[in-house]
């Protein structure tokens, strides 16, 4: 019999206890995987944000507006490919003002041309660009409200008492997880017509699409420098940097998740170590016999390590088997819809890291009990009466 066979047989010797150990460790690792996945969801939103856009806003904040002719100045900055002016449209249901929609009025042509994260048939996208009263609506919102392409939609807009009528020309999905999940996009020119006086010809944000991502910081600086002498000053930042700041708001929560993840691993270590110690204590006489037969302490150590690794790897695999359906089918949807979490997805990285951690932890857990046997006096072990 090989030593590894002894390890596996020892692991299977008390099947109920081993099964419970594997399950306990698997469940604990599941909590770990869920936390890591949620935490990774936040960083993922930053990673998925394109790095070839610079966002320009009023220096006093996102809620303030700038003259729409700023777009032309931004377009002249070297390195800028395309420019999109955008305003927050603030649409609500005509009958129920408390039912509000996230709506952005923007320059349709450059928007559709540059935003390749918008997934929709190109004919539908062309319809949206061609129809100045057209609207693009996210699939999630359209499905929820039963809207169909071609349908006329009526809204109330915050800034004007008359209703706004739009044609739903395109239902889109987003390639970026969670981006524009419940958005309505409409033409800025059409939206702007509603205003007279100081509210006319204003935009809340200018999106500059840039040729080289590496130029982002320089372009942002040039834009702000250009408007410094103007009445409305700007703050320009790379899209990804803006997203990173959004995520940084939850920094405290993310840190808490990290701390709890580590604590979970600590407890996994204790549970595993405890089970191994129980098994080893029951087998003191056996190990002493092996030693008396001439097995080296290192070989005994290997056998305990092997037993531990069997637990660890089984638990890691079981955990993955459960976590994939749990996360994909239930938690991801629930978290995004009910608790405004970013989109989450179990990544292959986290999966492998979890199995590796399980193996590593089981090895660590075996150290204390194994050292006990190696140091143990063979004669005392053989003399021990159960």
């Amino acid at each position: 019999m090989h030593l590894w066979q002894l390890s596996v047989r020892n692991a299977a010797r008390s099947p109920a206890r081993s099964a419970m150990t594997v399950m306990a460790v698997a469940i604990s690792l599941l909590a770990f995987v869920v936390l890591r996945t949620v935490s990774a969801g936040w960083t993922e939103t930053v990673k998925q944000t394109p790095n070839n856009r610079v966002l320009v806003r009023h220096r006093m904040g996102w809620g303030r507006s700038m003259p729409s002719h700023y777009t032309q100045d931004v377009a002249r900055v070297p390195g800028v490919n395309a420019v999109i002016g955008a305003s927050w449209a603030g649409l609500s249901h005509p009958k129920n003002p408390r039912l509000r929609f996230e709506a952005t009025a923007l320059d349709a042509k450059p928007f559709v041309d540059t935003h390749d994260e918008l997934l929709a048939p190109s004919a539908r996208k062309a319809d949206f660009v061609a129809d100045r009263s057209g609207a693009m609506v996210s699939r999630e919102l359209a499905e929820e409200l039963g809207w169909r392409e071609g349908q006329r939609l009526r809204f109330r807009s915050a800034d004007s008492p008359t209703e706004l009528e739009l044609t739903l020309s395109c239902i889109f999905q987003s390639r970026r997880h969670g981006w524009a999940r419940r958005q309505i996009f409409l033409h800025w020119a059409y939206f702007n017509e509603r205003f007279v006086g100081p509210q006319r010809d204003r935009v809340n944000m200018i999106v500059a699409s840039i040729a080289k991502p590496a130029d982002g910081a320089r372009i942002a600086r040039e834009i702000d420098a250009h408007f410094v002498a103007h009445e409305d000053q700007t703050t320009s930042e790379e899209d990804r940097a803006v997203m990173a700041q959004l995520v940084a708001r939850f920094g405290a929560i993310l840190e808490a998740l990290d701390v709890i993840s580590v604590l979970i691993l600590g407890v996994v270590l204790l549970i595993l170590g405890n089970t191994l110690a129980l098994g080893v204590r029951e087998r003191v006489t056996e190990y002493a016999t092996l030693r008396a037969l001439g097995f080296a302490p290192a070989q005994i150590l290997c056998s305990v390590l092997g037993e531990a690794a069997t637990f660890g790897v089984l638990a890691g695999l079981l955990c993955l088997l459960v976590s994939y359906p749990l996360l994909e089918l239930a938690l991801a949807r629930f978290l995004q819809e009910q608790a405004s979490f970013p989109a989450i997805q179990l990544s292959a990285d986290i999966a492998w890291v979890t199995v590796a951690i399980a193996a590593l932890l089981s090895g660590l857990a075996a150290v204390v009990p194994a050292l006990g046997i190696m140091k143990g006096d063979v004669v005392q072990g053989l003399r021990k009466v159960g």
Binding site: G90, P97, G251, L257, I260, I264, N274, Q338
Partner: protein, 391 residues
Amino acid sequence: MRLPLKYSARNLWARRNTTLATGAGVALVVFVCAASLMLVEGVRRTLLSSGSRGTAIVMQQSATAEVASSLRQGVFGLVASAPGIQQAADGGALLSSEAVRSVLVDTQDGSRTVSLQLRGVSSNVLELRPQVRVRAGRRAAPATDEAMIGVQLAGHYRGLALGGQIELNKGRKLQVVGVFEAAGTAFESEIWADLHSVQTTTESDGYISSVTARLSSADAFDAFASALEQGHQEEGLIVERESQYYERLSQGLSGMILVLGGMVCGIFSCGALLGAAIAMYAAVEQRTKEVGVLRALGFDRHEILLAFLIESAGISLVGSAIGLGLALSTPFIEFAVGNSAAYGIEVRLRFIPSLVILAACALAGLSIGVAGGLFPALRASRIDPVRALRA
């Protein structure tokens, strides 16, 4: 005949390493559970206590938070003439128009730049919000670029301390002359300055964010709201009870914490339960002979069952105590988070312990231990004394 409690206690002590290792699982559940409930309590106390049912807040219809709302100054007059507003002692109406803006500041250690809420207030703001008291320095004088900061902010951000200053726009600075406390409400995470000064420094002359009015009674709300929402449709106003407004602001944040905490606790309590079961099954196996002796001495099944249940309850009590001890150290942790419902404006939260939370979590920990120990204890109680002694 009763088995003495000492029997169970001594057993716990005899295998103290196992007790601790198993208790750690329970401790983690109790800690996460208590800490997240304490934080949610912090969110609720901070945000919910900020609003009162008898106070109404008027905003722009499309805005979901004050900071995103923009109203003509003239709306103040409309609100003042709406029915149901409480009269102040001096005969004036108890209402205030406020301009709420977000300002970017650096944290004291320079690691992050965050948005904080700047509120431009009228001179009667302290009558409208009697919970606000100046704690250090003095009140910001009207019609100056002076500001007061909430006590939660003091010392945590650059420039936000008594005597400090923050730059808003084109060299205009606000001088911090006072620190106020507001009974633990969200106002304590705000910067307050003169209304007109906030409007001019943020280049929004003639625009306010909201009008807050104290109503003569909580029932006066409906008439007040419909007078403004229906009576002045062209303004696009929305009226909410202040309590409802803050409830809405707190929901996302407390929901997020509850969901995260709940997930960890829910999943991990199963793990801890199995951990307790493993330890107790091992104990029963090791002591089969001993149980046989006890049975032969005349202790009956129920006594054995009880003794093992008490032992596993003991494990979870040790765990709960460690978990609660850890949780009670959280109030010393700094916790500031951006509230998505308020456009990411940072609010400083405290972990607020309460007897109910601590008791509920201890109970949860205890039930994990008892549930985990139940089947092993049943097995112990079914040990046949004759066979056990012969083995």
